[in-house]
Each structure stands twice: as C-alpha cells, then as structure tokens.
Homo-oligomer: 413 residues x 2
C-alpha cells in the first residue's frame, strides 16, 4: 500500500477565517483521489519539530459535524507560533528533521496558513525542498486581517475584520448621536503599517450616518495642527464628530503618534498609550471639548460571530484550491484571490510564486486616499464593500456562539 | 372629540434594549382602547421643555416596518439627556411648563425609560403631579446595562450587555489559547459600582474553556499582593491566564485601582488609564510575564447585533405593561420584572412604587461572590444564564446591521 498524505499548519496572528481555510484543506483532502490522510501540526511548524501532530481526517470521520463548526471558529484550531526558520545555509538541522517527518508520515504536500512571516517559512521550505530534490509540494494559504499580502486581491480574514469594524463604527455612532452636546469620539483601529482596516470604517456610512467624519491612515504622515483644524471645522458643522484612526499613524519624521515617556500610574509604573488615547488628550487640551477614545481591540480579529460570509467562503475555497493545486504538482507558491469584477462581485482562485510574496507588503495606494489625507476615496469603498457581505452561520447554544473545543492546545502546551 | 394621548422619552446612558421598550410602548398604544397618539420627547425630558416632540403613532402608521427595526436598534431613538429636574420647592417653573405641555397635547400618561437618574425624574414628576392634583400618570420603565436598579429582578439592557461580554470573553479566550507561551490577558469590563457585568464574564466558561480564571468585582476591596499571588499560582498550572476585572475596583481605602498622576504623553499631556491597563503594568513589572489588557469598551452597551433575545422581549413587554398599567390608573411607579423561576426561566411583569427605587442601587450580594473574593458562585451564574438566551433578529443589508435612521437627532441638536 502506497500511502499519500498531506499536512497542514497555521501560524501568525489570529483571524476569524483561518479555520475556514483549514476546513477547506480537509474538505479538499476528502474530495481528493490522491491523498489519504491530512495531519495537522500543532502550533505551526513547531508541531512538526516537536512531533505534536494530530490526525484531522480521523477527527472529522468521527465527528462530521465538526467541519462546519471549525469553519466558523475564531483563531487557530491548530494553534500558532512565532518561530522563524533559520537560513538553511546557516543551519539545516530543522529542515532535515522536518523533511524526515514528511517521509515518516508519507507527506506529499504541506500547506501553511498564515501571513507574511508564514510565507517566509513557505519560501524557505520550498527552497530547501528544491535543493534536496524533495517532491513534497509546499503551498502557502494567505490569512491576515491586515490585508497587506501582495499578489492576492485581498487576504482571508480581512473581510471579517472589516465587517466588524464597520458594524462597530455604526453602533458607536448610534451610541454617540444621543446627546445634544458637542463631542468628539476617536476610534482606534488595528493596522500598524497598512491602513486597510481603518479605511473599512468608511463602510459604516449610510443615508443617515456620515461617520467616520475623518479617517487617518498610516500611509499619510499625521500632522497634529491640521488634525485640530479639521476637528474644529467639523465641530462648527455638527455636534458629534467621529474619527477613525489607525494605531500606526506617524508624524512626518516617522515617529508614532502615541504616548512615550514619563507616564507613571499609581503603582509607580511607566505606561504607554496608543494613538487614540493620545489624540483624545490632544483634543481635550487644545479644544476643550467633550472627547473619548475607543480602541477596537483584539475582537476585530476574533469576533467570529460577526464574520463575513464572503470571507469565510473564500477562505474555505482557498484551502480546497491549495489541495487541488498540490495534486497538479504546484509548489513554492501561495494560493491567491483574483478579483474579476466589483459589481457583480466575482473572483477566481489562482496562485503566485512564493518568491514574489514573502517579505513584501501592500499599502493602501495613494489614489485611494483623499488628497486632504483625512479620508478615503470611492474606488477604495467599492473595493471594500463586497468583502463584508453576508453573515456567518455560527450556531448558538445557551446564548453563546458554539466554537470548536480547543482544549488540545492546552494539553500540548 | 375627547383626545387621550400619551408621551414617552428616553434618558441616561445607552443600552441595546431601550428602543425595544419604546417599541413596546408604541405597541401598547396601538393595542389600547384609551390612547389615540403617542408622542416622543426628543433628548429626554428636555424635549418637552424645548418643544421637540415627534408623533410616533404617525411615523409607525406610515412605516409599519419600523416597529421591528426600532426594537433592534441600539441607543436611544429619541435621544438622551443628563438634565436633572430641580426640586419643585426651589423652582417649579420647569414643572409648570411640562404639565402645561401635557395639557396642550392631551397627555394622560408619561413614560420615562431610563436608569437611576431617570427614576429620580419620575419620582419628582409624580410628586409634583400629586401636589397639583394632576391626573397624568407617571411611570418609569427601567433600563441600564449596570443592573443596579432595586425592586426589579434585573434591568432591560443588562442581559444583552452580559451576552456581549460573555461572547467576547470566549472569543478572546480562543484568541489567547493559540500560543504555547505563558501569558496573562486582563479584560476590563464596565460597572463602576456594581459587579453584575463583570460577573457575566463567567458565562463564557464551558467544557473546554475555564476562563475567566479570576474575576474581580467592585464589591470586594482589591488587594494587589493577593492578586499577584493568584496570578502567579495560576501561571504554574496553565499557560494562559485570563482575568475579568471591573473598571470600578478599589483598594481597601476606597481608592480606584487606576493610573492617576504624573502620566504624560508625547504631546506633554497628562493621562489617566483604567484598571485593566494598571493591572497590566503591575503584572509586567512584578511577574515579568507576557501580558496585555483589553477594554470591553462602549460596544458592550451598543453592539445591538449581539443583543439577547430574552432581553429584547422583556424590554418590549415592559413597555406594553407600562401602557396597560397607566390605563388602570397606576402612577408614581416603575414597571418591574419579577423572576418566578430560574429553570425553566419564567418571569412576571409588575410594578413598584417609584419612591422605593429612585436613588437606590443594587450591588452583587456577598453570598454570590466566592469567599476568595476572586470569583463568583454558582447561584450567580444560575441567575445570569437565562438573561443572555436567544439572538436578536436584526436584519442585515450590504453586510451591516440595519438600524433606525436617527438623523432627526442631528436636526434637533
């Protein structure tokens, strides 16, 4: 009997769609005439090194209902890692071990679901495989809420985070509009280097809500004087000014707009605070108006109950696509989403050479940012709008979303 | 023609259920043989004083589909205010004006949906009505995410906030469990004086998730040394420690556990930070472990897409009940929820004299807090569990929840 198996792992920061891609890989293997079993490596590539592997085919055989549940569960069912492979020229020992494991488990293809750092791992494994003449196909499956991977129209996980941000902005607007007094609300959104997530706040605008009234992305140098003038002008026009700001905004010198030194709490500890809090205090001091800041925190990457159906479906499709491509012999690649049209929204799935992707990043293009530097343009909204369509079919029990049991992550920790 | 109308207003801080009570009042008036029209006063009681009134019956006649949409829209459709009526012995001019307005609009009953401060207004209006021999019935309809009103088993808006908190805690747990390294996550939850909301984090526990591992309520004096020992002990047992903490925790002297003085950001402004951030820095300094804090921000009171169906249904029922009681001549009261049993969960609606409610507050009873002071007991969980059951039927369009158009609040600002 000539067993042919494959292996999958997840890495980097959480999204709510990364398990949909895992479910897609499993579905792809079920549909495959080539592969017998799909193994999961726990905590990314380190699971192979530590021999923490789990038989996903067996799990799903036993609990077929888990496949749907997996697809709507946030973060990584297989756990994550931040391990960076050394250059194999410097130290090939982990590579030797990994490819030995592949042989032991009859692994014909390895799928790595992750962001930029994970694609670096895909690149390194691909190069090593070529060097030793291994036939194991190495394919990356993208995910990142930051949407900053190249060669793909957008990244799995981004659409759901965008939906969470736009919904939250709309709900915060309702929360803000109730008082007939002048006020400023600053909403800080993730994205240290790319403004895609912050831009998604613009999707909250509708026939009665013009918020966010100002949008600041990390792509544009932030000028505190211009900012104060913008806010002042808007406070003449309306009572409630709502501002979306990226955590990563920087001034013209490249310094982050955030608290830095000399901050001490009542235990005597120095503290750091983010862009939102910093702008809150700037407005309080300079404009003397009622102001608050709200940090759209880690929930923007893990609130799976509000995932975008479009995002989950595409993420799953990419998992399946990766399996199919590996059967065709594709390797050293990342599967990609190619947009065919905005309206009607249509995509195709393809792949790109991993060498063109790893260690590159995609920012919001200048033409999608308003010349004023404090808003986005319609083409960016047209790009974003399809990605948040549709709702997750997550089940509820006792009033709470039903997610996959992840106690194996504790066991293996 | 002898017109009999009624009037309704909303006040205090937002919840996601306060519009369900408003929809309940409107439904009650539709079903009433007594009342013709229900007027809404914009921005609480100040709408009567500023003559900012809206005909809700006419609105719903024209747009019957708005009734369902209203019931699932967060914050106040009619806007809010923080206006406090003077004692009528000191200054009866606003009272004279208000009761003149009631006469002008043929108002037989006035419903005020709000929290503790709003019940103070209900009390004052009731007393004034008695003094001048007015027949206008004055009835309060409770709402507050804080659940700190007396005489009612729980308050509308609380169950939905509890559901949001428990779901978020569960999603944050998934987000946390993925890394095989020691870490502490602190989740700061609203509730300055009462720990009900923070206690609701315990509902996130299930067969695979034991988080939150520690729960700190404002009812228990907070001891930093005990806290550090608790965290240290748990870090021996497990990798990821997740802590739910009320924004209002205080030390034995009554001082808030939050940053106070000497904190300066890079614009030179002094800053304040909350309990979560303060504990984050305490752990970082004393235990040197990876730590982060997450503030469950205003979304816990405005994320209507995750409202509790039970909460919305009860809130609507209370609105209807208030109308029915006013027809029976009840006044100077607040409608209440009386729990008949936990399992099966069953409630009845009643009312209580407003004099017993206004300016009183309900804390978590000592027997519902673990003797260790860092957890809650099963009876509290049994009390909380029914309140988060069921999901909101909010509609989605273009990927976002569909809420009521609130542009009238800007117009009237």
């Amino acid at each position: 009997m000539n067993l042919k198996n494959c292996m999958v792992a997840q890495s980097g920061g959480p999204t709510v769609a990364i398990n949909a891609s895992l479910a897609g890989v499993i579905r792809g293997v079920y549909a495959s005439a080539v592969y017998d079993t799909v193994y999961g490596s726990l905590n990314g590539i380190t699971g192979i090194l530590n021999n923490k592997l789990t038989n996903l085919t067996a799990l799903m055989d036993e609990h077929p209902e888990y496949l749907d549940r997996l697809a709507t569960t946030p973060a990584m069912y297989l756990g994550s890692c931040r391990y960076k492979l050394p250059d194999y020229m410097d130290d090939d020992s982990p590579y030797v071990f990994i490819f030995n494991q592949f042989e032991t488990y009859h692994i014909e293809a390895f799928f790595y679901i992750g962001g930029n750092d994970s694609m670096d791992t895909v690149l390194k494994l691909s190069e090593y495989a070529r060097k030793i003449g291994s036939n194991v196909r190495i394919i990356g499956i993208p995910k990142t809420i930051d949407n900053d991977l190249c060669e793909t129209d957008h990244t799995p996980g981004f659409g759901s985070a965008a939906k969470y941000i736009a919904s939250s902005l709309l709900e915060i607007a309702h929360d803000t509009f109730i008082y007939a007094v002048k006020s400023v609300t600053i909403v800080e959104i993730m994205g240290r280097d790319a403004g895609w997530l912050t831009a998604a706040a613009a999707l909250a605008r509708n026939e009665y809500n013009s918020a966010p009234h100002l949008i600041y992305l990390p792509e544009v140098p932030f000028d505190a004087d211009d900012f104060l003038l913008d806010v002042k002008r808007l406070l003449f026009e309306r009572n409630n000014v709502i501002i979306a700001v990226s955590e990563g905004i920087r001034d013209a010198s490249g310094a982050y707009i955030s608290a830095s030194e000399g901050t001490v709490d009542n235990f005597g500890h120095s503290q750091l605070s983010g862009a939102g809090k910093t702008l809150e205090f700037l407005i309080k001091e300079k404009l003397g108006v009622k102001v608050r800041s709200v940090e759209i925190n880690v929930l923007q990457r893990c609130a799976a109950h509000l995932a975008s159906r479009t995002d989950l479906e595409e993420s799953m499709a990419l998992g399946k696509k990766a399996v199919a491509l590996s059967e065709e012999g594709v390797t050293a690649s990342m599967v990609t989403i190619n947009r065919v049209s905005d309206a009607p929204y249509q995509v195709e799935y393809g792949y790109a050479q991993i060498a063109h992707i790893a260690n590159e990043a995609k920012s919001v293009p200048a033409e999608w940012i308003a010349p004023s530097g404090n808003d986005v343009t319609q083409p960016l909204i047209d790009y974003l709008a399809p990605l948040i369509q549709g709702e997750s079919k997550v089940a509820y029990e006792n009033g709470l979303p039903v997610y996959m049991d992840v106690s194996h992550l504790s066991v293996h920790q």
